[in-house]
């Protein structure tokens, strides 16, 4: 299935892009992070991140569907 990924902050720097479309068989965000993290060399452990699908924070094991927009959120530093 096709997944739209958005990257922010250090993950965007590491990926070298702010977004990308990927074809993936990952059934949930946890598997997807392992897959793209390996390809881009993300050093941050998933336990430090949150994940949003289609603009909403979700559980790492929520099933993904074709066309989903997925965002891995590194620890925030606003304020």
């Amino acid at each position: 299935m096709k997944i739209r990924l958005l990257y922010f902050a250090s993950l965007a720097d590491c990926a070298g892009c702010a977004s990308e479309d990927v074809q993936s068989a990952a059934g949930h965000p946890s598997a997807l992070y392992a897959e793209v993290g390996k390809r881009h060399g993300f050093a941050m452990d998933a336990t430090r991140l949150r994940v949003a699908v289609n603009g909403k924070l979700v559980d790492w094991l929520q099933p993904l569907a074709d066309g989903d927009e997925v965002v891995f959120l590194p620890p925030v530093s606003g304020g």
């Binding site: 922010f8 250090s10 720097d13 941050m44 949003a52 965002v71 530093s77 304020g79």
Partner: protein, 137 residues
């Protein structure tokens, strides 16, 4: 009235404060977060803020709604900058009005703490030595 906004341009704190006016309000507390010239022992020259806009807006709104209920506020709003900021610039503004000062002080403190912990906004610090780095505390 609850409002959380992102702003690519300068924040006008006085204008934001006027929107908190309510006849039932006996107290108004505002917090301004400014860009400091040093962090963690390093000289900072400027910052960039990046936001995941759709989720930042919904998370910010959720925090303001929860604060309004929890502290019985008359009004609450907050604005966070995005883009490039210099030393002394206003990075985040939080304001609340309430019947009495105890609720207003507590709510303003609670809101800025929640924003810093939950809203998907990231700070890239640019240092005097030319290096820069995203903060992921």
């Amino acid at each position: 009235m609850n409002r959380f906004r992102l702003s690519a341009g300068a924040i006008d704190g006085e204008a934001e404060k006027r929107a908190l006016t309510a006849e039932s309000a006996g107290a108004c507390v505002c917090f301004e977060g400014w860009v400091r010239n040093a962090n963690d022992g390093r000289d900072v020259r400027r910052l960039d803020y990046q936001a995941f806009e759709s989720l930042a807006l919904s998370e910010g709104e959720r925090i303001l709604v929860e604060a309004t209920q929890r502290f019985g506020l008359c009004a609450a709003s907050a604005v966070h900058r995005t883009g490039s900021l210099g030393i002394g610039d206003l990075a985040v503004w939080v304001g609340v009005s309430a019947g009495h000062r105890d609720a207003a002080f507590a709510a303003c403190r609670w809101i800025i703490d929640e924003i810093k912990q939950h809203v998907p906004i990231w700070k890239n610090e640019h240092y005097a030595d030319g290096e820069s780095g995203w903060l992921h505390p």
